[in-house]
Symmetry: D2
Subunit: 441 residues, 4 copies
Amino acid sequence: MSLAKKLDAAATDASLAGRFAALRAQSTAMVADLSAEDCNLQAIADTSPAKWHLAHTSWFFEAFVLEPYAAGYLPVDPRYNVLFNSYYNGIGEQFPRAQRGLLSRPTLDEVLDYRQQVDAAVLELLAETDHLGSAEIAARVELGLHHEAQHQELLLTDIKYNLFQNPLFPAYRPLDELPPAAEALPLTYIEYAGGKVELGAAGSGFALDNFAFDNERPRHKALLTPFRLANRLVTNAEFLEFIEAGGYREPQHWLSDGWAEVRQHNWTQPLYWGRIDGQWLEYTLNGLQPLDPAAPVSHVSYFEAQAYAAWAGARLPTEAEWESVAAAGPLTGNFLDTGSLHPRAAQADAAVAGETPLQLFGDCWEWTQSAYLPYPGFRAPDGAIGEYNGKFMSGQMVLRGGSAMSRAFHVRATYRNFFYPRDRWQCTGIRLASDPVTSDN
Amino acid sequence: MSLAKKLDAAATDASLAGRFAALRAQSTAMVADLSAEDCNLQAIADTSPAKWHLAHTSWFFEAFVLEPYAAGYLPVDPRYNVLFNSYYNGIGEQFPRAQRGLLSRPTLDEVLDYRQQVDAAVLELLAETDHLGSAEIAARVELGLHHEAQHQELLLTDIKYNLFQNPLFPAYRPLDELPPAAEALPLTYIEYAGGKVELGAAGSGFALDNFAFDNERPRHKALLTPFRLANRLVTNAEFLEFIEAGGYREPQHWLSDGWAEVRQHNWTQPLYWGRIDGQWLEYTLNGLQPLDPAAPVSHVSYFEAQAYAAWAGARLPTEAEWESVAAAGPLTGNFLDTGSLHPRAAQADAAVAGETPLQLFGDCWEWTQSAYLPYPGFRAPDGAIGEYNGKFMSGQMVLRGGSAMSRAFHVRATYRNFFYPRDRWQCTGIRLASDPVTSDN
Amino acid sequence: MSLAKKLDAAATDASLAGRFAALRAQSTAMVADLSAEDCNLQAIADTSPAKWHLAHTSWFFEAFVLEPYAAGYLPVDPRYNVLFNSYYNGIGEQFPRAQRGLLSRPTLDEVLDYRQQVDAAVLELLAETDHLGSAEIAARVELGLHHEAQHQELLLTDIKYNLFQNPLFPAYRPLDELPPAAEALPLTYIEYAGGKVELGAAGSGFALDNFAFDNERPRHKALLTPFRLANRLVTNAEFLEFIEAGGYREPQHWLSDGWAEVRQHNWTQPLYWGRIDGQWLEYTLNGLQPLDPAAPVSHVSYFEAQAYAAWAGARLPTEAEWESVAAAGPLTGNFLDTGSLHPRAAQADAAVAGETPLQLFGDCWEWTQSAYLPYPGFRAPDGAIGEYNGKFMSGQMVLRGGSAMSRAFHVRATYRNFFYPRDRWQCTGIRLASDPVTSDN
Amino acid sequence: MSLAKKLDAAATDASLAGRFAALRAQSTAMVADLSAEDCNLQAIADTSPAKWHLAHTSWFFEAFVLEPYAAGYLPVDPRYNVLFNSYYNGIGEQFPRAQRGLLSRPTLDEVLDYRQQVDAAVLELLAETDHLGSAEIAARVELGLHHEAQHQELLLTDIKYNLFQNPLFPAYRPLDELPPAAEALPLTYIEYAGGKVELGAAGSGFALDNFAFDNERPRHKALLTPFRLANRLVTNAEFLEFIEAGGYREPQHWLSDGWAEVRQHNWTQPLYWGRIDGQWLEYTLNGLQPLDPAAPVSHVSYFEAQAYAAWAGARLPTEAEWESVAAAGPLTGNFLDTGSLHPRAAQADAAVAGETPLQLFGDCWEWTQSAYLPYPGFRAPDGAIGEYNGKFMSGQMVLRGGSAMSRAFHVRATYRNFFYPRDRWQCTGIRLASDPVTSDN
């Protein structure tokens, strides 16, 4: 049986090997419509080339699964250990992040070949270890799948930013026809009593049956004062009101560091918005599109989210508030798996409208007003793998809920994403919260 | 009675007017040994000239006390409203912070004269308002005193940094003789049970009898897991071990952003340390001195504090942990009022050693691992005065306890200081904390 | 007859159309061994992608030949007028130079197609205008050919720099075997009497039969004092002596601005040199190679050339000195047409050795100590074409003689190349000169 | 006789000692009306503090006269050898130029005392050496006087720039009343035949009786084509026409590097111009003044001078053209010695108007289109003193004729000043030149 057929076969079952083959094939499929030049673009240090993502995720399996566990495994090219190591100092030196777009070699074809060789070796290892029942290998592969999913999302957010630099505004995936316009639901707030809640993921390690990252642990208790949460994300139309009211010109809404960003970069609107001949447009993975008023505003920084909330007389939720509500589920939403590649207007049947917050999952990552810090009792795993999450615990804010570019399987109510408050190239949006109105205030 | 005599008279009593006159005179006295050139130095945007501090604190009383409350008051020079406004957008434009050292005019003499005129006007207003009993004026003056105390500390930390740029290493205050060397107390940890605690300042507004800043409010409850707190600050000798063990060369101890700072700025030691002919020296406000092994390490960034803690197998405390312990008092320590101008080795009588943490107040501001964020229910005051604290709530870390450059009267257990994790020019040190040893971990 | 066949046919004759077709085909052939990713690389603003060079030279014919002269010509894509305009403000806005590497679209294939369409249109126009005898069109096409030749050289120097960023050190053209090593000729000086000389190109405009750029005109007289010129370029072995004598560590040899560059960029050797395990290597278009001691040192800045000359007790020639000697010909040398792609050791038969300077043409552009300034009576042509040369007359130095990456046909004794004194990515070398030894000095 | 009296006595005679004492006293007098803070200002690396100039010129006499020639001389403070060495690598390390404004110590008073001690030592040495007839000492002192004069000019241009940063626009020397307005002479061109000319200073070394800098030597011949020179400098009114015609918005007038400066720094007018309520003002050493239409435009960069000339259909003169005309004298003009501190409108009696160019000396340094390069046969002196001029021969343009801030005694027809084409803080203006109108052009 040929390698390609083996991979296909593996991709059809729900075993770890099957899920591995399927997800890896999805990553490769994501660049099917891109040219080799497209796949090598890097506009800023943040936005790595698509080719690099394809290579790095393969290196991850080499470095953390094959090298330690596959007896006699020889790396495809030992030099890739420098080129495609992202930030693991415990493994060795890294090629400078900001220069990944200068790596024309290996070519896209060579990287695709690298992927195939790694895939074959991992599947072979899994086939062997099924007999041996090695839990540690399985756990590492499971981690690698979640890592792969993270990079699928980054591949999309990065290629979006990189293609956007071209004044031809090329589409990642051209659209046959616009989806039908939707009406926005009225914005309402839902009240929550707070009190003692439990947060974070139970268990420890990268358990197969209950996967969570180290930064979601340990599970712990917290006290919440009563709060209110908006029933949906802030829409483009609502954010446009902020712009038209002078929001980007008035310092009183902004954090001090946010106002400095506004002035330094001349921010006047969300990252992908533009106005041509009086009409507002938005650059999407489907190319330039008219701005959809009912869709959630996306690609705003924490600073913009906070300023909008302040202007609207509200605030952003804390991650504890968000999680205490989201834990009730259901874990469904407009994820990458829907193929929309973009946030959509909230939809509700009459039964739940106004009682359950919508869009908690999918559409846009939701900025919280919580800094990304360790939970009480947090400990990073030993070794290089311990660099995965813990070392980023300064200067960043927590985001929750996944986006239209996130794979459904790797989003959870306890999932903590984190970016700098100035970052805008992720698919990030705004959920409002507020304190209950009290008589004496 | 001459103005100078009036000011002297006012400075001798404990009334608000008396405290005002005394504190304002202290500020002026702080530059008595400096030249006019010294007082105009600004090495980096952070470190304003001493002259600017003297002017800005006067402008603060003009803008927030005299202009709104003193009928018919004419500002000493209306152009000072731009030159000496620090960051209050609600009041108007500001002269760029990084260029304050370019303001040779007004001269130091003119600024000292400005101070006298403002002092006279405030005292006159207070004399009148004693009759009228205006609580709001008194509250604003009280706020102005705490503001003055903050700038006394900044004046010292800034002049220290500014004079340090000169290869002649001039002393702010030359020292007649070195204080006697002390022995360091052994480092031990004290156990705390955690549980439900109350944090923050009660009340609201800038109350005269229970002053607190807006960011310390509202008082609220929190849940703490059990923790352990070191009995004293980390000493120079202990930090030297970290250096000699390669601490500044090994990325595994550092946060990712911290390691980037280390490499970008070639950090190899705390800000004011140097080594000449094999001997470690420390620049202090008394000039270059041999490094005192038993004294607390100071002028370290959050990144260095965190890396040291990780290397030592510990962590930094949260602000909630710190406050829950410090609230028990007593509120004493090596403050600016002792005249030492520098942290000193911890001293304990046998009775309390090992049972009560020492140096919680004074000596060094203690980095916590808590980001500077709003307390649940926080609201900034209306108007320009609301810009005092709230707009800085992103990207900074909380520090607690005051330092050898802080006035005793304006430090409290609930006091939240905040700086960026890279900042080193404040008198900042390290208190270790850790989680209790558990059987299953 | 198909377009491809027509182009082939045209390329075989010596007519303007024939030379056009041949040179254009050479440009395209230069990327035959590169991947699409290779062709899109841009490491710094100076080093444009190979794809951009292929497109820009085509746009040049569109903008300066087809648009004004081909009746009814419709541009292949009007948006290319922004994307591929280099610096002609008279034509319109330009896509920012430093971001050319972000243009993944049009793809390489689309650009090659663009070339074919432009070629066909130009050939058609030339076929028509042969009948009409339009001198202006022919002159513009001739200018376009010289422009094309300039960009062939830039394509090579740019791809060399861009590929060099990759730690795999990919070769532009892998080498089957090393050329045999040569001995270096002894360095001698040849004496010249100076006196009144004539410099620059006669004629005006872009004449077909005596092509010269505007900056080579008008022909004019100058007075030269007696001088001496080295018989060959400085070799790698000689430059290595400078390095080993501490040349890069001693400020006394350097111009002040040069020394600043050395310190800012930590220069310790020519751009493409490296040392591995004690052996000196040089990156070339054939990949990493052992340093050839007899070959001319190349890829040095003016600052390095000047410092070397000062260290060697000599100086660089003026452009007038150089031209007065080079005008005697012959105009032969190691040009791009030899296929060597790299400077080679000087070779001389006994007859001329020591009497005629070698390597005046080809191998390396020779830095002169003349700033790039207008000749007396210089006037730039009217219109956008006048931006070709004149507007760069500040801050740059003149280089003479062409290099191993220059097409032979477009180098002349009067040719003035110009780069900034810090530039190193061109194939630039060192010819020494000196003043005659006088008895009283 | 006291030191002060001795200095006074020395200052009254025309001997070298007398001239030394007088000029040194003038330098000190130049800061008489400035505060200590004023004297420590440094807004950019280029504009050193007045105090630094006073110290550096004293160090120059210490390093180049007293240390080598005064037996047993002990430096006033050996640390000044680092603090006040400007750029002489041959002498040792230098305190970074950009940080001179951070040297609050030594204070202004200490620097004035330093000057007195150096003055006394030099006068003592001169008194001794008069007997010994040491030509070398006299030559070094003479060089020191010209160096002192250069720094008197820099002190003024620097303090002007430094005070200008203050929004209060303090005057260096307040003005009692405005000088009466003058009419501008009509602009005409005077024709010159060119031909063979002799340029540069004869002799060698720093001869007492015929002082010239090394860069003015050797005297040499050159060939000039016929040229025309404007009869006076370009006026403010003329330059205003350029502005109002859109000169700063149209790239076609500018050199490429000049246009980059315009865009990067948003240049819209000369350095010290401003418009308030529709009226054009100019900041001068006498404070903000209405713009004088007939006075020469000043504080323009080479780029602005060149763009103005191109817009006006003219060009800038070469230094050879300028010198061939200026050599005819007379060497008079509006220098620092007039006390005007600012360029004034050209004045001519009927006899010479239109026949002799006015303002060749004084008022404004005149940008030439000649790069600052070595004359044929140029050699820098040996030792550290050789760093005086030669190492700056790249990237700068030659200016001629002195300005209203230059001491008359140290300006000559052969004097070559040099600055970068972007520099504007010197008192620089525009003299137009052009090529004769020819019948065939």
